[in-house]
Amino acid sequence: MRFLFKTDYEDDIKLFPHSGYVVTYGVLLALLLIAPHVLSSYLMSQLVFVCIYAIVGVALLILTGFTGQASLGHAAFLAIGAYTAAYLQKYNVPFPVYFLAAGLLTGIIGAMVGFPALRLTGIYLVIATISFALIVEEILARWESVTNGNEGMRVKTLSLLGVAVPRDSPTFYYLCLAVLVLTIVGTLNLLRSPTGRAFVAIRDSETAARSMGVNVALYKVKSFAISAAITGLAGVLFAHKLSFISPEMFTLQLSIEFIIVILIGGTFSLHGAVLGAIFIVMIDPFLTYLKDDMPGIIAGIAAAFGASSATVGNIQSNVAAFASLNGLKGAIYGIIIVLFVLFEPLGLYGRWLKIKLFFQLFPLYKRATFKRQKIYVKSERNR
């Protein structure tokens, strides 16, 4: 086991606490850079979606994970970013300009949502953000002169410095990857700054933060604005990747998916956003794979246990019928969410930390290390 010896504050806020980090992340980055030459085009396309979801995940982590303000309205911010890009593109605005403009506009709208949210906590905030998202969805469908209504908008191919970047080219993937890496590094630095510390203080106890002199209102609005702006940037990439956007893409369902990203990944670390994004994006191809191959596999196992060929055929067709049931995906989604909340509250990254600690401390690992403390409900109404 490695013990880090910190002698001053600079040691504490290093981005890479020890050389192991440089090696691990260097290798990871190298693998990601050669990915387009190795993976199939389908997997590359999924990888781009992983990048976009991870950017939104990071944005949501800033707001929900680190400032403690729940939001079920991030699909609306994504939509505003995407529509800004599509609208400005019609007037031949160059990519860097509308990319930043989308971020700026979403940031301003995020701050405007943040103001009413100042006085709201808990469930009221969740419902206020849901209402905001539903209103935005309706505006997108009705404001036809700008958004083209329910018919949706076509997004032209991205052109960067005069060079066309098609949505399935490696360059587009590198662009998304670059935005993701910049977002993560920027967020890491933000969390090491006074602003980030104020966010965490507000999450842990608003009253304590206020009595330590943190301007709670200002930092909450800042958190909303930053989170929304990053989501808006992701929205631009999202619009280009899909090349067509319409209001029914940005529903409550999508907001819930974003929350699931950080919930499954883990809400206490930026790793969680990336792991959760991988999980959410890859679950679709995985379920399709199961649907196609599971009947054969199960029948094979049955045959290995000496079942007659008639029974094997029977089992195979039954499993196939079950796997192609309508709505099975929704049920699996639901079960996954419930299981994660019940048994893995720290998410995938928490599981990874547990496994790592198990091997570092072998054979002294104690199961109680990560145990949640039992708390008893006290009324939030009196808080």
């Binding site: 808990g122 009221y124 849901i130 209402s131 989604y333 639901g334 079960i335």
Partner: protein, 291 residues
């Protein structure tokens, strides 16, 4: 003027449905400080149960109704035992996510079992209208209004006048203290979930002739019932019904007098305005926080 009254009455009837679903939210919230995002889906499931008993097995309407309520009460206890009890007392957000997951699960399971068609239950109130002068009121809408009033009164009496109701309020204020006073908190929470599932079933069955039953009805109406519960202050039983009626009337007036598109948005605009001016809802208690 007649149009106005007609819109008002249909708004009130619609609002009573929202109010009934919101009552379920409020019950669970009042007793456990948990917000149940699957409440609408419990309503949907209750409707399907009633359809199975009445439409498929051919039972008498009232027997089928009672059967569905009883079955759903058991189901509510089961859901509480499996999903909520292990995480009771953990941050509110994890419980919200767990109930969202439960909702997903119920919706797709219901879709698998009962299919995706709209189903209809024949009720004694399906046909017939009440005429008062030139005003025409359908019995099915009146039945919703009457049932809401009765349920609301009963639940209010239950919470404020009975031993068990007092125990529920106590365990929501401070669970540990309630344990110390000898209140069987776990059983109390179970009972609350049973009651709220039963109320949801009443909503589902009464709603069946008006909106039909399909697997997404819970999500659609649940999203409308939230503003209702919030307007009412989330902790007040009469507040939930008043909030529901307000939302229903606003929606039906906006659909009639305002341009197209406002109907679906107006409740949320009103909600945001109210939250901006009075964050604790219209009937919520304003209490200062102790540090």
């Amino acid at each position: 003027m007649l149009d106005f009254v007609q819109q008002l009455v249909s708004g009130v009837a619609l609002g009573c449905v929202y109010g009934l679903i919101a009552l379920g939210f409020v019950l669970v919230y009042k007793a456990t400080e948990v917000v149940n995002f699957a409440q609408g889906d419990l309503m949907m499931l209750g409707g399907f149960f009633a359809f199975t008993f009445i439409g498929m097995m051919g039972l008498n309407y009232w027997i089928g109704f009672a059967g569905a309520v009883a079955a759903m009460a058991l189901f509510g206890m089961l859901a509480e035992r499996v999903v909520v009890r292990p995480i009771l007392g953990y941050p509110q957000f994890s419980i919200i996510m767990a109930t969202i997951g439960l909702g997903y699960f119920l919706r797709s399971i219901a879709g698998m079992i009962w299919g995706t068609d709209d189903l209809k239950i024949e009720t004694p109130f399906s046909q017939g209208v009440l005429r008062m002068g030139s005003l025409v009121l359908a019995y099915d809408k009146l039945s919703v209004i009457a049932a809401t009033m009765i349920l609301c009164t009963l639940l209010w009496l239950f919470f404020n006048k009975t031993m068990l109701g007092t125990a529920m309020r106590a365990s929501s204020e401070n669970m540990l203290a309630a344990y110390y006073m000898g209140i069987p908190v776990k059983r109390v929470v179970s009972v609350v979930w049973a009651i709220s599932a039963a109320v949801a079933t009443c909503a589902g069955v009464l709603l069946a002739p008006i909106t039909f039953i399909h697997s997404n009805v819970g999500l659609v109406l649940g999203l409308k019932a939230f503003p209702a519960a919030v307007l009412g202050g989330f902790g007040s039983i009469p507040g939930a019904v008043v909030g529901g009626v307000l939302i229903g009337v606003i929606e039906s007036m906006a659909g009639f007098y305002l341009p197209e598109g406002w109907k679906d948005v107006a409740p949320y605009v009103v909600l945001l305005t109210v939250l901006l001016l009075k964050p604790e809802g219209l009937f919520g208690l304003h209490v200062r926080k102790k540090v």
